[in-house]
């Protein structure tokens, strides 16, 4: 369970952090409302503990802002105000509970537990494990449609395991989550209830042990038998390997995750004490080593966001000189975001090639806002290459860059993001800074009209929006906006030109085709899926796609042959062809490129990797077509 603590009182926060950690809660703490907003809208929490009196954006305003944005997580408001009217104001602002300072820590813990329990009861969607179904709305459990009768504790245990599929729960954690403090249960109680639950599920007809024991660690939901979970199609050996490998990977990660968490803790502690105590050379070397080990481990386990963040931290610590004051906030933001990345489950990654070829960003932030640091860290995690310019001159210098080598294009960023937000106390930018930035946006558009510009501003009414659009900005985001939303907008803007591009997917596995279509859905492409490769030519000439994604092994006509057919036609020499295959061996890859492929991706696809590969191909294809049309004109 994760809690966000927003309180500027260092002494109280320290006590709370300690007490909440004892209760196995994972806590992030920030000291002002703006950072609270940034964290809450970026990371997932189960509860927010919020102080009313905060610098800049106060607790009440933050609470209102969160609720207006549709934020549903419970909020517990802490305050020194004890008037009845204050309580009403707090609850009206959207808080779920209210505690007056000074308070008894035990009471706070009880209220947190009650709020969390209330929320989890409200999560009503049905949970499934193979043919086993748990319906939280009716508190009923069925297996293959037949009811399974469980006691309340057995039901709660099963619900917890189903809700947190990959998590290992120690007996102590289970006691904390399922049993209330006045029941005085022991670990033997947990064992006995798990035994009871297993027995009942077995009697219901489930042959696999639903809850497995992880020696020395606790209990976890087992993986449902693959043959039972998948439809009729026989699995090819590579996919079996993948399933086996993933199971092994999850097991190894559970056993060793703590080592990574310890390393992260070291970095976190260092980032927190850095402003007061600085960093000795020995600490820097040690931190660099920790970041290096973290990158190695996280990359191996397919936690690619964590891998990218750890690499960036390592790079930040590379310089022999001490960390610069302006880098402190960046270091802290990277470390905090890394902590969240550690909670992701391990995945099958395609190794170093897995980093999506995402956009290079130039962020112009003359106020050096902590909010932008958070955005930077998240951008790094998602595979962007962000660079911050603290002045418009600096930004122009970066854009003008060193002269490119002969024959090479200018290395421009893919997008420029300009922060038009003032200080945290008053988001409206002062007149001088505002004029400087507006002039910069105009210059940007005159000198590099092809470069999309995204702006964040608190003044996004029609008049201002019109002015900004006239100056050439492609997208205007109204502040407050979460870093996550900014990045989504960036991706959209960078690739805005490629919406409605036509993508043809050819794979004989219809189920897989469906998954691909779903994966590409948010990008508004026009997708033509095809399972029967013999019908390729008819469909191809009808749709004339902008990109073709081909599987290799298909009955009748295989992917290599299709690729050769296309390349044998003068008109289709340049249409981008991406191979998507389970075969990761160099021979298959070389063969694909030899017959004319533009790219080769090994299954399984990680996250948005395929999307970025397609977008990159589209980008190059469009550039080529533009050049061709200029030449022919």
């Amino acid at each position: 369970m994760k809690i966000l603590l927003i309180d500027d009182d260092n002494a109280l926060a320290e006590v709370l952090l300690q007490q909440l950690a004892v209760q196995n809660y994972i806590v992030d703490r920030v000291a002002d409302g703006e950072m609270g907003w940034s964290y809450a809208s970026t990371f997932d929490y189960d509860l927010i503990v919020l102080d009313w009196m905060l610098p800049q954006l106060d607790g009440l305003q933050l609470c209102e802002r969160l609720r207006e944005a549709g934020y549903g997580v419970p909020i517990l408001l802490l305050t020194a105000k004890e008037q009845q009217t204050d309580k009403i104001r707090g609850l009206e602002a959207g808080a779920d509970d209210y505690l007056v300072k000074p308070f008894d820590i035990t009471e706070l813990l009880v209220r947190i537990r009650v709020l969390m329990r209330r929320t989890s009861n409200e999560a009503q969607s049905s949970l499934a494990w193979g043919d086993l179904r748990l319906d939280p709305a009716s508190c009923s459990v069925t297996y293959q449609g037949r009811p399974v009768t469980l006691t309340a504790k057995e039901y709660s245990l099963l619900e917890l395991f189903l809700r947190h599929g990959h998590q290992v729960f120690s007996a102590t954690t289970l006691l904390d989550q399922i049993w209330s403090s006045d029941e005085f249960p022991s670990e033997a109680t947990v064992r006995s209830h798990i035994r009871g639950l297993r027995q009942k599920l077995k009697t219901a007809g489930i042959s696999t042990n639903v809850i497995e024991t992880i020696r020395g660690l606790g209990y976890r939901l087992n993986t449902p038998s693959l043959t039972a979970a998948l439809p009729t199609r026989t699995q090819s050996p590579p996919r079996d390997h993948q399933a086996q490998y993933l199971a092994g990977l999850i097991q190894a990660w559970q056993a060793h995750k703590n080592e990574s968490v310890e390393r992260w803790n070291y970095l976190l502690h260092l980032s927190q004490t850095l402003p007061e105590r600085g960093m000795s050379e020995q600490q820097r070397m040690q931190a660099k080593q920790m970041a290096h080990s973290l990158a190695g481990t996280l990359g191996t386990f397919g936690l690619m966001e964590g891998y990218r963040l750890a690499l960036q931290i390592q790079q930040l610590l590379q310089s022999a000189s001490a960390i610069l004051p302006k880098q402190i906030a960046q270091f802290r933001a990277l470390v905090t975001t890394l902590g969240h990345a550690l909670d992701q489950p391990p995945q099958l990654a395609n190794g170093a090639e897995d980093t999506p070829h995402a956009a290079k960003l130039l962020i112009v932030d003359i106020n050096q806002a902590p909010y932008i640091q958070q955005l930077m860290a998240l951008a790094v995690a998602q595979g962007f290459t962000p660079e911050v310019a603290a002045s418009t001159d600096g930004a122009l210098q970066t854009l003008s860059g060193p002269a490119p080598k002969p024959g090479e294009p200018m290395s421009l960023p893919d997008l420029v993001l300009v922060n038009l937000v003032g200080g945290e106390a008053d988001p409206i930018l002062d007149e001088t800074s505002s004029q400087i930035l507006l002039k910069f946006i105009t210059t940007l558009n005159q000198r590099w009209p092809q470069l999309p510009t995204v702006l964040i501003t608190p003044q996004a009414d029609f008049g201002n929006r019109l002015d900004l659009v006239r100056r050439g900005s492609a997208m205007v985001l109204e502040y407050p906006v979460s870093p996550k939303e900014v990045l989504e907008a960036i991706v959209q803007t960078t690739y805005l030109n490629y919406r409605h591009s036509k993508i043809m997917l050819v794979d004989d596995d219809s189920l897989y085709l469906q998954q691909l279509v779903q994966l590409l859905q948010p990008w508004h492409f026009q997708i033509t899926p095809l399972a029967n490769s013999k019908r390729f030519w008819t469909l191809f000439t009808q749709t004339m796609p902008d990109v073709i994604v081909l599987d290799i092994e298909m009955p009748g006509v295989n992917g290599f042959e299709l690729c050769k057919v296309l390349r044998s036609h003068p008109r289709w020499q340049h249409v981008p062809i991406i191979f998507l295959s389970v075969h990761g061996d160099p021979d298959s890859q070389s063969r694909a490129f030899a017959v004319g492929a533009d790219d080769y991706i090994t299954k399984p696809i990680q996250g948005q990797n395929l999307v970025f590969r397609i977008l990159n191909r589209l980008k190059r294809y469009h550039a080529w077509r533009a050049q061709e049309s200029i030449a022919s004109a």
Partner: protein
């Protein structure tokens, strides 16, 4: 092909496990693991593996020193060594080539094709 025995030298136990699993699943190769350069050197002498996968960045005796130890010993100098390292620059790559490593694999590696990647560097057929 007959099963191979690979010695994995890496101070991270978690990575040892992942490598072991990858090699077994993809190529049915067996592996033995060592957590330090010193332990790896001694295992190489006694176990005589078919190849060694050696992490470059390790505390105390790093991968390069371990490689030198292996290279200077009659019992181990003929065993091919593949270095396992984080993203490398050109200067480092040149160094690895100069010291005579059979190949370099960059971390993070693709676990599903690690054995083929090794086989290619070693000139083995899978």
């Amino acid at each position: 092909m007959t099963s191979k025995l690979i010695l994995v030298i890496d101070d991270e136990e978690s990575i040892q496990k992942v490598v072991k699993l990858s090699l077994k699943l993809e190529a049915n190769w067996e592996s033995i693991c060592a957590s330090s350069g010193r332990e790896g050197f001694s295992q190489a002498q006694t176990q005589q593996p078919d190849a060694i996968l050696l992490d470059v960045m390790m505390p105390e005796i790093d991968g390069i020193k371990t490689f030198e130890m292996l290279n200077n010993n009659l019992q181990t100098q003929t065993i091919p060594v593949i270095l396992l390292t984080a993203k490398t620059g050109t200067a480092e790559k040149r160094l690895f080539q100069k010291i005579g490593a059979t190949g370099v694999i960059t971390k993070p590696f693709n676990p599903l094709t690690l054995a083929s990647q090794m086989a290619r560097l070693l000139g083995w057929r899978l």
